[in-house]
């Protein structure tokens, strides 16, 4: 492997003067953690270059080094042949024509869309003073230029949906028509329609001679977009290829190989309802009805931001319900807070998509993280029974093979994305909830971990748990679910019997005559 990585740049480079980006021998450690070791990477102008790898392979770290956000401990970085290793300042890179969209979105929540887009060079008047009233029109003009018409430049970024924020972030990057575009998991939060929109612009830039670099955990996208693929593993360059099959890629990325991407749904749902929702109003939800049966995996599809999040949050008591009734096992229940939802009598669990913001206590130990939702169950008179806690956590950690047998005393932030997601899952499995609300749990999770999660979902259903499943990857819903609800404008627009198999059917149902919305 060391050998491939040292050879790889050689095979990748037809002479560095024609290279847009070149990194070689880059090391970068976080605390004791070697995120990049002797990593090399090279991309040409006029190509779309995919960067693939498991969670924690070092993709984002490499990107942060390339765009000057963090310093490399060792090694060199060149932009169009100019050595910039010592320049650690995104602004400087920007001036060299390098623009980056980061994985953890970098929009400023309290600023308006316009201010976010124009922060670096706002419209100035005489005296070089910013003309505040020209901000919004200028931003509007930019958004329109990139075919975005559903975002108000005066809106505060915090009030946008995740997808909208991602779009603004991308527009911010594209706007400069940069010579080097770096996009770290740009599609993770996008609906398929928006993915196509982005793909269009990536291709346009490529054809205009720019160098486009992006990362993704969705092989479909890499396959359809990338001219070349570079694979990283554990912080090192493994290979750079013009063509690469998914199977090969997965093997390269993980050193392991898998059967078909999606496991077959073998079990059938039972007939008794675990959860019955009638006329639910909350957030964007305007009257949703459905039943969820034991052992059923019920998919929730639709374009992003049609109220999916509201549905999950309100069922979990994390968001106010304006109207409607929720019944568990036929008995109506009132859920005012997650506390109520978790209560044994109800037994609902919610696994959020944004694990860093909504799931993890990063500085706390893996054990504390996993135990968090079930503390009182192992407590006597308010005192934690540590022995029992250790045992329980240990068993679940092994069951999900989290962190390859590391001590559960480690801080959660020393885990990779994949393992971190498993930690959150583990917390909720401990609640023995009979109803699981899985909201985009595979977002930004690598192939290996994804596979583990699919398997897990299957077994949970087999155990007779009822599962409500949302994913920004329609493919998943199409293959994993017994049944699919398609939401549009806060209502159930269609119900498809599954496994649907073909994602296009779901997409079709999502946009059917609803386009005007």
């Amino acid at each position: 492997m060391t050998e491939t990585s040292s050879m790889a740049p050689a095979q990748a480079e037809p002479g560095s003067e024609t290279l847009a980006v070149r990194a070689s021998g880059v090391d970068r450690a976080f605390g004791g953690v070697q995120a990049l070791r002797d990593a090399s990477f090279a991309a040409r102008p006029g190509e779309i270059h995919a960067l693939a790898g498991e969670n924690g392979a070092g993709k984002s770290t490499l990107i942060k080094v390339l765009c000057g956000l963090i310093k490399a401990d060792k090694g060199t970085v060149e932009i169009f042949g100019t050595e910039v290793s010592r320049v650690v300042e995104p602004a400087a890179r920007r001036r060299m024509g390098v623009a980056t969209a980061f994985q953890e979105l970098s929009l400023l929540p309290d600023l308006t869309v316009a201010e976010n887009l124009l922060l670096q060079d706002p419209p100035r008047g005489r005296l070089g003073l910013v003309q505040r009233r020209r901000l919004a029109p200028a931003a509007e003009e930019i958004l329109n230029r990139y075919g975005v018409d559903d975002i108000d430049p005066r809106a505060t970024a915090a009030d946008l949906s995740v997808a909208q924020r991602q779009v603004v972030e991308l527009v911010r990057v594209l706007a400069g028509e940069p010579r080097v575009v770096i996009l770290d998991e740009p599609t993770a939060a996008l609906a398929d329609r928006q993915v196509d929109w982005l793909a269009g612009h990536m291709r346009r830039l490529r054809d205009a001679g720019s160098c486009v670099i992006f990362t993704s955990h969705r092989w479909r996208e890499i396959e359809s977009l990338a001219d070349r693929v570079t694979v990283f593993r554990n912080g090192t360059h493994v290979a750079t290829r013009d063509t690469l099959s998914e199977a090969e890629a997965v093997t390269l990325m993980s050193g392991r190989s898998f059967a078909g991407a999606y496991p077959q749904i073998t079990t059938e749902p039972t007939d008794d309802n675990a959860l019955s929702v009638t006329n639910l109003h909350s957030g964007r939800l305007a009257g949703v009805d459905f039943d969820l049966r034991r052992g059923e995996i019920l998919g929730v599809g639709g374009l992003a931001g049609q109220g999916q999040r509201d549905l999950f949050l309100s069922l979990f008591g994390a968001q106010r319900v304006r109207r409607g009734t929720i019944a568990v096992d036929g008995k109506a229940v009132t859920i005012r807070s997650p506390k109520d939802a978790i209560r044994a009598g109800v037994g609902i669990a919610y696994v959020p998509e944004d694990r860093k913001a909504e799931g993890l206590f990063l500085p706390l130990s893996i054990r504390d993280n996993i135990a968090a939702a079930t503390l009182s169950r192992r407590a006597t008179a308010g005192f934690v029974n540590r022995g029992k806690e250790r045992a329980v956590v240990k068993s679940i950690v092994d069951q999900l093979n989290i962190g390859a047998g590391r001590s559960t005393n480690r801080a959660a932030d020393t885990l990779s994305g994949g393992n971190q997601q498993k930690v959150v899952m583990a917390r909720w499995l401990l609640t023995e909830a009979r109803i699981l609300l899985l909201f985009d749990v595979t977002r930004g999770v690598d192939a290996a971990t994804k596979h583990d999660i699919y398997e897990l979902v299957g077994t949970l259903a087999a155990q007779g748990r009822a599962i409500l499943y949302y994913s920004s990857e329609t493919e998943e819903i199409a293959h994993l679910c017994h049944r699919v609800l398609v939401l549009r404008e806060g209502r159930v627009a269609a119900e498809l019997a599954g496994p649907v198999g073909d994602a296009e059917r779901i997409v079709a149902a999502s946009i059917k005559e609803g386009q005007d919305a």
């Binding site: 602004a91 970098s106 309290d110 308006t112 910013v130 505060t156 009030d159």
Partner: protein, 312 residues
């Protein structure tokens, strides 16, 4: 910045409310409207707090807090009162000293990576000691001509300076630096990611806060005609109160120095209201405390309502 505007306008709301209340109690007590004398003395006594509040609001906008304003005002008051009478040029030295003190805070916060509240808690003690060293006993003086220019007891020269302060903010707000202050307060990591030189900006912000404290000190000495090494202490909490009443969010990124100015004036008016409503002096702080909480409560409620409205 809609949200911010709403909060600022809340600062104005509080000001308007207190102003009305002031006029009412004043007239009902004295049977006539406030005279130019009243307005003038309000103006002159408020100016120091106004300046400190502007500096404080800048720091709070970046998500920080500056407890050392008390110390910086004390040092500058001490130096002003002991030197300026010998030569006017010392005024500029004073401003430089204030800026330097602030810059020290900035260095420690931005490059030393120590939380603002802790940094300034420590430097507060240091600066206060410095002030005591310079002026062990209250005293000193300031040339008459300086008084006449800064806080003329007969004509509202103070208005000019207040106007300049406000104008200064409006300009600042319209520089890229101004936008960056909000960017950092909103989310520092992201701000850095999109190319905002966070450390440099913060350094400047704390230095500006120091400069404001120095200005406040000069106006303090000008109104009181001499100095006191303990002069700064009250400004710590009153400046924070002004900023809060002015609708600047403690989380940073939301609000405006103008709001803080409004807050400062409002707080001064509250004193007068309590004076004329003739409440038992023993209970005075009770009402001031209540005013603070209620004002801010209104702010949060309004903000919540606004958010609701926008989401629905």
């Amino acid at each position: 910045m809609r949200d911010a505007l709403r909060r600022v306008s809340l600062g104005y709301l509080v000001l308007a409310a207190t102003a009305v209340a002031y006029i009412v109690v004043y007239t009902s007590r004295l049977g006539r409207f406030p005279t130019s004398f009243d307005y003038l003395s309000i103006l002159n006594t408020t100016l120091p707090l106004v300046f400190v509040a502007i500096g404080q609001s800048l720091v709070v906008l970046t998500g920080g807090i500056d407890l050392s304003v008390g110390g910086m005002v004390s040092v500058c008051v001490a130096v002003t009162a002991t030197t300026v009478s010998s030569s006017i040029t010392w005024l500029f030295v004073v401003l430089a000293i204030g800026t330097a003190c602030g810059a020290l805070n900035g260095l420690i916060v931005a490059y030393g990576r120590i939380a603002p509240i802790l940094t300034t808690l420590a430097t507060l003690s240091i600066f206060t000691g410095l002030g005591l060293r310079v002026l062990p006993v209250p005293g000193g003086s300031i040339p008459q001509e300086v008084r006449l220019v800064l806080t003329n007891p007969a004509t509202p020269t103070g208005l000019i300076w207040l106007g300049l302060a406000v104008a200064g903010w409006l300009v600042l707000r319209r520089t890229r630096f101004g936008m960056r202050v909000y960017a950092i307060g909103s989310d520092e990591a992201s701000a850095r990611a999109v190319g905002v030189p966070a450390a440099a900006v913060k350094l400047k912000v704390y230095a500006l806060s120091g400069l404001c404290s120095a200005l406040a000190a000069v106006f303090y000495v000008s109104t009181t005609t001499s100095g006191d090494a303990n002069a700064g202490n009250p400004f710590i909490l009153t400046s924070i109160a002004s900023v809060v009443v002015g609708g600047v969010a403690f989380s940073g990124g939301r609000g405006s120095a103008l709001g803080a100015v409004a807050g400062a004036v409002a707080l001064t008016l509250v004193i007068d209201i309590l004076f004329f409503s003739g409440i038992d002096p023993l209970y005075q702080s009770l009402f001031q405390g209540l005013f603070l909480v209620v004002a801010v409560l209104l702010g949060t409620v309004a903000a919540l309502a606004a958010r609701r409205r926008r989401q629905a």
